[in-house]
């Protein structure tokens, strides 16, 4: 998934006609001051760190300014901050509006119902998880025939909106529904959605785009920046690769088997650190690349747990043996292999020829790799 920063989300909002406060992005304190001075951002204004994590208000990443000088100071204080692991590179300056109510609104997928769901609450401006369930409304929307007027009227009534704000909601919901579908969004969220005078204004914007739809939206593919350098390389090579804190590298195929492997390793005291899911590849070169990527993460030991289906055991064994030859001697690590399924015999034979024994049972093989990481040998 591609999470858009607030200002990018608001650019998408603008394209679909969602009402927004006047505002602009600054990447330096000087730029922030200038945006106020030239009237782009009216005063008083809000200066918000552009990070993906929530809780910015409590975390000091949102400040207010009544003058250009204050805007500059606020931007200076926020830019460069490390907020929940993210470096703040941009601030969004926006006019501070005088609002009468704060609402919550989002559209996302309800997996169980296999339908999009429009979630609203009259209690906006706070973390929605903290709102009582009875105060949250869920309106399913059928892709055929799409969001209807009667559904929009119902939501307005639930939120207690009438007159101007109700008409504003009708247009806003139309915009968000079109955005949700046309941009292949996983989530569109506005919290708070403010009642300002006779209409509604989106004070925040959270937009998450589905990765799988990148073939329709190449413009989003480049936006992800929450990956480690190795994860970024893996993405370019189309390898599922996640780095965490442990010291055992796990190469498996398929998310379920990878998770089950993790469960077993933890059971025996192991601490998995890098997960590499080969998925359904049938190309030994891709296996080689994946293994070399794993080597660069410097694991204490590596557990190869493959059940051959689309990915055949001999393909994996070939790619693995090829990669092992390319890792410098001083960077080598113990390897425990378990390969089962399609072409199992051929794969085991290739590994054996390279000096690696495949341990057939998951339990025994997991115990072996935990021991190897703890300093024993594989």
């Amino acid at each position: 998934m591609v999470k858009l920063a607030e200002w990018r989300g608001k650019e998408v909002f603008r394209k679909y006609g969602v009402p927004l406060p006047k505002g602009a992005v600054a990447r330096s304190a000087a730029e922030a001051g200038a945006l106020v001075l030239d009237g782009t951002v009216p005063l008083p204004c809000v200066v918000k760190a552009q990070v993906l994590a929530g809780g910015r208000g409590k975390g000091g990443a949102v400040r207010f300014a009544a003058t250009a000088a204050e805007a500059r100071t606020a931007a200076e204080a926020i830019l460069g901050l490390e907020f929940k692991g993210e470096r703040v590179k941009e601030v969004l300056l926006e006019e501070k509006l005088s609002l009468s109510r704060e609402l919550y609104l989002s559209i996302t997928l309800d997996r169980s119902a296999r339908l999009p769901v429009l979630i609203t609450s009259g209690h906006g401006g706070v973390e929605i998880e903290s709102v009582d369930d009875a105060e949250i409304d869920r309106q399913h929307v059928d892709p055929f025939p799409g969001l209807t007027s009667f559904e929009k009227r119902r939501v307005a009534k639930v939120l207690g909106l009438t007159g101007g704000p109700a008409r504003s909601l009708d247009r806003l919901l139309e915009s968000l529904w079109r955005l949700f579908q046309a941009e292949d969004a996983e989530l569109v969220e506005i919290n708070p959605l403010a009642v300002v005078g006779d209409g509604l204004v989106a004070l925040d914007a959270k937009v998450i785009i589905e990765d799988d739809a990148n073939f329709r939206h190449p413009e989003y593919a480049a936006l992800r920046d929450d990956r480690t350098p190795l994860e970024e390389i893996a993405r370019e090579k189309d390898i599922a690769f996640v780095q965490l804190d442990g010291n055992i590298g796990v190469i498996a195929n398929g998310a379920g088997l990878t998770m089950a492997t993790l469960d077993v390793l933890k059971e025996f005291g192991g601490s998995p650190g890098v997960f590499l899911d080969l998925g359904g590849t049938d190309d030994p070169r891709k296996v080689t690349e994946a293994f070399l990527l794993m080597a660069r993460a410097k694991p204490k030991a590596v557990f190869l747990n493959i059940f051959g289906g689309v990915t055949r055991c001999d393909t994996v064994a070939k790619g693995l043996v090829d990669a092992m030859g390319q890792v410098p001697a001083n960077e080598r690590f113990p390897l425990v292999a378990r390969i089962r399924g399609n072409n199992e015999k051929e794969g085991i034979e290739i590994l054996r020829a390279a000096g690696v024994t495949s341990i057939p049972q998951l339990k025994e093989s997991a115990q072996a790799v935990v021991a190897a990481a703890a300093g024993g040998s594989a």
Partner: protein, 294 residues
């Protein structure tokens, strides 16, 4: 009998001329499946391993009376391929293709449902009944005819578990890999009734994963309506919380979706719970020993 597929199932492979389509058509035939046709637009009139290829599903159905489809076409074209299969009257479609946008899958699911077509998948290994037929990509070697049903959200983990059952000297009636995508055509709740009604299934192994509420829904169904023994395993118990899909997702699955909630729900519904994949065969064997036929 078996679930959804029989010896009479006549399979058309959409995307048969691609590498995976060709390889798995052969493996399906090795399994004993009646693969009667392939479809690749523009390749009509050719033959792949004795299987005639057509330009459209309609032509394939007219010529071969195919009644099930196995779909290997790339994600950007999968929606169209599914609509085509439904429109041609195919009533069971196994979608192997991964990375289909869920917005596409929503359209596919609701269109198929309105026309009475069952989808298995997407991003799934498919369905297999040893001795009857296989539609999908589960390795043939893991199977052995028997009376254990398997329903799983995973791919390779399913192979692992089915293989474990075989190595324990037991066999499977039917195994369905549902696929792990956010929107699947057939969920646990949709699949369980089929096994409930299948006289050849004595018990069911249910393999779930963290995320979503499909396992909790399944537990609810098992508690209310399912009378056969259930052995359950949930993968990802020790997975890191990972990157969550914003707050809205949490609102939908309030108090559900973790390994703990899933296991508790299934245990509460009377299922035997395995902590690790290799515990499953033992639990199954115990149930069989207690009286269910093998």
């Amino acid at each position: 009998m078996s679930v959804l597929v029989t010896r009479e199932t006549r399979v058309v492979v959409q995307g048969i001329t691609g590498h995976q389509g060709t390889v798995h058509s052969r493996q399906m035939r090795d399994f004993g499946t009646n693969v009667v046709a392939g479809v690749t637009p523009g390749k009509g009139g050719t033959i792949i391993d004795e299987v005639p290829v057509f330009d459209s599903v309609r032509e394939a159905v007219d010529a071969t009376h195919a009644n099930a489809s196995c779909l290997f076409v790339p994600a950007p074209y999968a929606k169209d391929a599914l609509l085509e299969a439904v429109d041609a009257g195919i009533r069971l479609v196994v979608i192997v293709t991964e990375h289909i946008p869920f917005h596409d899958m929503l359209v596919m699911y609701h269109y198929a449902r309105s026309r009475g077509t069952r989808i298995i998948g997407p991003n799934c290994p498919g369905i297999a009944s040893p001795g009857a037929a296989k539609v999908g990509i589960i390795p043939n070697v893991v199977f052995r005819p028997g009376r254990v049903g398997v329903i799983s959200r995973s791919g390779t983990l399913t192979y692992e578990i089915v293989n474990g059952i075989k190595e324990h000297g037991l066999g499977q009636s039917t195994c369905i890999g549902l696929g792990g995508d956010p929107v699947v055509g057939t969920s646990f709740v949709d699949a369980l009734p089929l096994f409930q009604e299948d006289p050849d299934t004595d018990l069911v192994v249910l393999v779930g994963e963290i995320g979503g509420t499909a396992e909790e829904d399944a537990a609810d169904y098992v508690r209310r309506k399912f009378t056969k023994p259930v052995v359950a395993y949930i993968a990802g118990r020790s997975a890191p919380p990972g990157k969550r899909m914003g707050h809205a997702g949490a609102i939908i699955s309030r108090g559900k979706g973790t390994a703990e909630t899933k296991l508790a729900a299934l245990q509460g519904a009377g299922a035997q719970v395995a902590r690790f994949p290799y515990e499953i065969p033992d639990l199954v064997a115990e149930i069989v020993a207690r009286g269910a036929r093998r």
